[in-house]
């Protein structure tokens, strides 16, 4: 006995029946007509849905050599709880995150050994110049802030990053329409054609970085991107000389969520771009399965400056590889109001005069 196949109308979702007079499937609710084959293919597409799979494997097996650790000192900040390391010839005096004094707590220990490091490329002088430039041309920045800044406190620090490598299998399904309009002497016509668009394929991601330090805001680090991994080298403690190093305190599982979000967004955008020639495209469903997702641990170079102003902490960062400078600056409310009302007044008077001229003509 043949199984009875029941189809749902792609247009309204109602149960659909065969109409013998037109020899087509016709929805009794919305009167849309379909070819039998169309519905069969549509049904197949719906059955192909897969669930997401975004799991990762730790590829890092870095173990510290005993003599490597011996050369590193650990410091702790009594104020914000930040922990940093530096080689024994470099003395850390203040916390790079909050500016308060740090104390030596002994030898650096624990945690994984980084797999890679991108060495500093931009020196301290360039970092200071960049910060000065960062203040320029910003009219709403409080004047006091420009004068009070203690630009010399800028510190070079290696920030821990988790790097995610993966291949992604992506399945996307869209509803798309093509709209065509034409007219005759009496009527305007609008024809809308509806399509089910399916896209499947593979995509590779290499070294998607996620900040592994809790002390440094994720958005600040993401604003510094991109870091070019092509310049990374195998980790050696000698790279730490003269700089501070933070150790990771956000684990891989936690960081993976952020990496997954970004990979999903990029995959969806990349696949969406392959759907062309339509008037509208709406995503219906989509799933991503990661293949050979692996995680490595690396240190990236960052110049940090922490500044206190009006009781608030402002953290500026510069990409130690590319020289990109970021950091939110405070707003001088009095200056802001002056500009707002000054502009309103000036533009208002000009507009009023313009309206009057317009009326005269």
């Amino acid at each position: 006995m043949a199984a009875i196949q029941e189809y749902k109308c792609p247009c309204c979702g109602g149960a659909i029946a065969f109409d013998s007079t037109i020899q087509k499937m016709k929805c009794p609710f919305c009167d849309t007509e379909f070819k039998m084959e169309t519905l069969a293919s549509y049904d197949d597409e719906l059955k192909n849905d897969q669930a997401d799979d975004m799991s990762w494997q730790m590829a890092s097996d870095g173990e510290w050599q005993a003599d490597e650790l011996r050369g590193l000192s650990a410091y702790a900040c009594q104020s914000c709880g930040g922990e940093i390391a530096c080689d024994e010839n470099t003395a850390a005096t203040s916390c790079p995150f909050c500016g308060n004094p740090v104390v030596l707590t002994g030898r650096f220990s624990g945690a994984l050994r980084p797999d890679f490091v991108i060495p500093f490329k931009v020196n301290r002088r360039a970092a200071k110049e960049a910060l000065k430039k960062h203040y320029e041309g910003k009219r709403l920045l409080p004047k006091v802030f420009k004068e009070q800044n203690h630009i010399n406190e800028v510190k070079g620090i290696y920030v821990p990053f988790w790097l995610f490598d993966t291949g992604a299998n992506v399945n996307m399904r869209y509803k798309a329409t093509k709209v065509r309009t034409w007219s005759d002497s009496k009527y305007d016509y609008t024809e809308t054609k509806f399509y089910l668009v399916s896209r499947s394929g593979e995509l590779k991601f290499e070294k998607v970085p996620v900040d592994g330090s809790e002390k440094i805001p994720d958005d600040l680090m993401e604003s510094l991107e991109p870091f070019h991994f092509s310049e990374a080298v195998d980790f050696q403690t000698s790279y730490l000389a003269g700089y501070l190093a933070d150790k990771y305190d956000v684990d891989v599982e936690h960081s993976a969520e952020r990496a997954n979000e970004r990979i999903r967004k990029s995959s969806e955008e990349a696949f969406r771009e392959t759907v062309t020639g339509y008037t509208t495209v709406t995503k219906e469903t989509g799933s991503i399965q990661l293949q050979n997702g692996k995680v490595t641990y690396a240190l990236f170079p960052v110049w940090l400056l922490s500044t206190k102003w009006n009781g608030e902490n402002y953290l500026f960062a510069m990409n130690g590889q590319t020289g990109k400078m970021v950091g939110d600056l405070p707003l001088d409310k009095a200056v802001y109001r002056k500009w707002l009302f000054g502009l309103t007044g000036a533009i208002g008077v000009a507009l009023y005069a313009f309206l009057y001229l317009l009326w005269l003509l």
Binding site: E33, D188, T190, Y195, L203, E269, Y336, L340
Partner: protein, 275 residues
């Protein structure tokens, strides 16, 4: 005896002839049938006696000066006749209008359904175009709505006067050429400063934006290997189509007046609405 009779008859004839000449001479100058029908017919009794005489004075003065009849008629009901046809017929059968063209403008108010209708004839059609009528009605219908009929009618008469004067210059008020409104000092002031405030907000918003350089990256495009994108399935399945048919709207922005023929065969323009 016979002679004196003849003389008398000739005298009478002469007097009669003179009278006919005089009348026809006058009628050539200003044949307005308003001689026998008043330019104000307040059938619905909306005006007081003093308002009536004031309005009639204005209507007569404008009509005589412009040589175009301005007529105001109020009725309780049009007795089932469409208000437009009633206005046209009222105009035709009461013999309003100056000259051969029967130049005139008639405003009819019917209280039953609160209709107003302006019927134009002859030069009135030229002076009061469809667009002009829309403009005029925007000025006096509000007065009718609140029951200030005397003010509404007076306003109507004055506007007709302006429109006829403008039409005499050879360029009647019409689409794209309507009377200029007075400059709204307060309204434009509020408008100018509201727009200025929005612009100022945008400008200072941009300045504020310069202070903020920290933002999350929502995607990982920098780390995507673009060449690695490889599609294994690329299906576009046509499902169904919808065709929507809509009747074309007639574009009516040409100006001038649309005319029709009344029951007596006279050509009229006009239109109306509710108040």
């Amino acid at each position: 005896m016979m002679k004196t009779l003849h003389k008398r008859m000739a005298g009478t004839f002469l007097v009669l002839l003179l009278a006919v000449f005089t009348i026809s001479a006058i009628s050539v100058l200003s044949v307005s049938a308003a001689d026998n029908a008043s330019r104000l017919v307040d059938g619905a009794d909306l005006l007081s006696d003093s308002e009536e005489s004031d309005l009639l004075y204005i209507l007569d003065e404008i009509s005589e000066r412009q040589q175009v009849d301005i007529v105001v008629v109020t009725v309780d009901s049009t007795e089932g006749v469409p208000v437009g046809a009633y206005a046209d017929d009222f105009y035709d059968y009461n013999g309003y209008g100056f000259g051969d063209g029967r130049d005139g403008i008639l405003l009819l108010i019917s209280m039953e359904e609160r209709d107003w209708y302006i019927s134009t004839c002859g030069y009135g059609i030229t002076a009061l175009t469809d667009a002009g009528r829309e403009y005029i009605s925007g000025k006096f219908v509000d007065d009718l709505s609140i029951g200030d009929y005397a003010a509404g009618f007076t306003r109507f008469a004055e506007l007709c006067d302006d429109f006829i004067t403008q039409a005499n210059s050879g360029e009647p008020y019409d689409v794209g050429n309507l009377p200029q409104e007075a400059f709204g000092f307060a309204g434009n002031l509020v408008l100018a400063f509201a727009v200025a405030f929005i612009i100022a907000l945008i400008v200072t918003g941009i300045m504020k934006g310069q202070l903020k350089t920290v933002c999350s990256q929502s995607a990982a495009d920098d780390y995507m290997n673009k060449d690695s994108l490889h599609l294994t399935k690329n299906d576009d399945l046509f499902l169904y189509r919808n065709v929507d048919r809509r009747e074309k709207k007639e574009d009516d922005n040409s100006g001038g007046s649309k005319t029709h023929t009344s029951s007596s065969g006279e050509t009229h323009g006009g239109g109306g609405g509710k108040f």
